[in-house]
């Protein structure tokens, strides 16, 4: 690592210490501590994840969906061919009749089937657990969509318009939730998490599952949470509470 990066790291470390003193602990502290310097390799010491609290998620609310799609320049979905990075699923317990609502997006599996099947390696998992598609090596075979147990991926069926600089998209390639990697790498949180909090629900918690002090790690420790289709042993980074 060159000296510039080292000093930047030291600076960030200082900022983190300062933030720890100045801000409410547990909310922003871990974000700054984990902020990654540009060019710095992602670390497997971190495992980014999300906790969806279905008891707080409001039926019919689509704040997270809208925020995601505007963040990434994905047009508002209307047809079966339109991309949906995240969607709201309404649930009804078949035995008790209890209703729930929950957002479903890429679950950022630790053992991602999409990555296993991708012939070119375009689907890949970063060391910190974020699963991404390399827009430049995806050949559009859609095998990953066949393999994903959560219908989390979309194929870009048409020429794209209104692209955002942080989210390159392209006709003929597959895409999915990237956990707002551009925000996370700058120490931020995904757009859906922010929008849900802004809407007053705070149903999605984002953070480092490996950091025992983080809110997500504490809540996962405190209550029983579910990974969707845990029987498939994909070890999802997204967990659900209240199912």
């Amino acid at each position: 690592m060159n000296p510039v990066d080292t000093s930047r790291r030291a600076f960030l470390g200082g900022t983190a210490a300062f933030a720890g003193v100045a801000l409410a602990p547990g909310i922003l502290l871990y974000e700054y501590a984990a902020a990654k310097a540009p060019g710095e390799a992602v670390s497997s010491a971190v495992r980014w994840g999300m906790l969806v609290d279905t008891t707080r998620c409001a039926s019919g609310c689509t704040a997270c969906v809208d925020a995601c799609h505007s963040e990434h320049g994905v047009p508002k979905p209307a047809r079966p061919t339109d991309a949906q990075w995240i969607r709201k699923v309404e649930l009804k317990d078949l035995r008790t009749g209890a209703v729930r609502s929950a957002p479903v997006m890429c679950q950022h599996c630790a053992e991602p089937p999409c990555v296993d099947v991708c012939p070119t390696g375009a689907s890949f998992k970063r060391a910190d657990g974020i699963v991404l598609v390399d827009r430049h090596t995806c050949i559009g075979c859609r095998y990953c969509m066949m393999a994903c147990p959560y219908k989390a991926r979309s194929f870009v069926h048409e020429p794209t318009a209104g692209q955002k600089t942080d989210t390159p998209r392209g006709k003929g390639c597959v895409e999915s939730c990237n956990l707002c990697v551009h925000r996370v790498d700058r120490g931020g949180t995904p757009a859906c998490v922010e929008a849900c909090a802004d809407a007053g629900h705070r149903a999605i918690v984002f953070g480092d599952l490996n950091d025992p002090a983080s809110e997500i790690a504490q809540r996962v420790r405190a209550a029983t949470t579910t990974q969707l289709r845990a029987d498939l042993r994909t070890d999802n980074g997204v967990r659900y509470l209240g199912l």
Partner: protein
């Protein structure tokens, strides 16, 4: 088994003066026209994106994949005649090894063309050829397919070039082993999709091998009949009858494995809803399964293959056509039906969403998809046509004393 050395390997000139088949130009032009339309359709799909197809985010593989899978699976089975010749030394089969290998090559090329032109980014074939994810069965299949093409070329060469004839047996054995692996690999593309109810079975790979034998032989029978008429070189009756019976045996094997697959699925409670969809109330899949596959694709050829009064060449052709029609129905149910059925993401819950969670996905194939699929058949047809024109692959004259018994 016959012991008489078969005059299987003759050198060019392929066409003693006056015996060149008629109408090559017209036949080739017809095939080229279909191929050109298919390439136009593929270009149209690439220009506009897959939005002009019937495929969406739930049914992501559609009619093109039905055609491609049929051609690729049939390719391996089309080599069966050559394999019996090379591996088991049957003379009547060995004489037809070149046609068999040429057909296998043609079908595989046609299937790969469809598969590649359906990609979202077909122009990135270079990427696919230089970036391999060795954990991906798909990547392995690309190696298997290309290897098979190379082996088939070598095999044809050893059969047609007198100097290399002694090599034709070892190369034939290599091709035999390779094609078994290849068909297993093709079946495994689906076997790896653990999250899809339709594919989660260890029977998928053996079923694909049985299907390849039946479908490949059906195509071989059609092509053999057509080439014989084109060349005025009739297929010996005894040989055709053996293949007819063999077709019946293969079709029965496919039927047996398919029945076991569905019965074992029915045994697992969590698969029951999916089986009900495929077999009872999922239109058009249940129809395709019973009328298309079970009726046309299985019952008709079985009756023809074993009924003594249906032994004529025309009945054999009908049986072969019925097997092929049934194959398309079966693949459509297997590929499209399994995707149309909703994924079970929240067991124990009824689900609904704007992304069609919990709902059956509609799929209506579009014209460009169908044209692209037909293009794969056109390419295979052209390769066989050109191969038969250029090389001496069609056996003429009388076979060795008709060997009896099944092949």
């Amino acid at each position: 088994m016959s012991t008489r050395p078969a005059p299987a390997h003759r050198s060019p000139p392929a066409w003693p003066s006056g015996t060149a088949p008629r109408g090559f130009a017209a036949l080739a032009a017809a095939g080229a026209a279909v191929l050109a339309v298919a390439l136009g359709a593929a270009h149209y799909m690439e220009e506009h994106g897959h939005v002009v197809t019937g495929m969406g985010n739930q049914v992501v593989w559609g009619l093109p994949h039905v055609f491609a899978l049929f051609l690729i699976v049939a390719s391996s089975g089309a080599l069966n005649v050559a394999s019996v010749g090379s591996v088991f030394g049957e003379a009547a089969y060995k004489r037809r090894a070149p046609v068999s290998a040429l057909l296998a090559l043609a079908l595989l090329a046609g299937g790969l063309m469809v598969l590649v032109l359906d990609l979202g980014r077909p122009e990135r074939l270079v990427v696919a050829a230089t970036h391999y994810n060795f954990r991906s069965i798909f990547a392995w299949n690309m190696i298997l397919y290309n290897g098979f093409l190379a082996i088939l070329v070598a095999y044809l060469w050893t059969n047609l070039e007198r100097r290399f004839v002694p090599l034709s047996t070892p190369v034939g054995i290599l091709a035999f082993v390779w094609r078994i692996v290849l068909t297993t690999g093709t079946g495994s593309i689906f076997g790896f999709l653990v999250s899809r109810q339709g594919y989660a079975s260890g029977l998928v790979a053996p079923l694909f091998i049985a299907m390849s034998l039946a479908w490949g032989l059906a195509v071989f029978l059609l092509v053999q009949g057509a080439l014989a008429r084109w060349h005025d070189a009739p297929v010996p009756e005894a040989f055709r009858l053996r293949l007819r019976r063999l077709l019946g045996v293969f079709v029965a094997t496919v039927a047996y494995l398919t029945a076991v697959l569905h019965l074992t699925n029915l045994y697992w409670a969590k698969q029951a809803a999916f089986e009900r969809f495929i077999l009872v109330d999922g239109a058009p899949y249940a129809w395709l399964f019973w009328a298309g596959w079970a009726g046309v694709g299985t019952a008709v050829p079985l009756v023809i293959a074993f009924h003594p009064r249906l032994a004529g060449p025309r009945a054999t052709t009908i049986a072969a056509l019925a097997v092929i029609a049934g194959a398309f129905a079966q693949l459509y149910v297997f590929i499209v039906g399994a995707q149309a059925f909703p994924l079970e993401i929240f067991p124990g819950y009824a689900t609904s969403s704007a992304f069609r969670d919990g709902a059956v996905a509609p799929y209506v194939p579009s014209l460009p998809e169908a044209l692209l699929g037909l293009g794969g058949i056109a390419l295979a047809y052209l390769i066989v046509l050109a191969g038969a024109r250029l090389f001496d692959v069609v056996p003429r004259g009388i076979d060795a004393p008709a060997a009896d018994g099944g092949g």
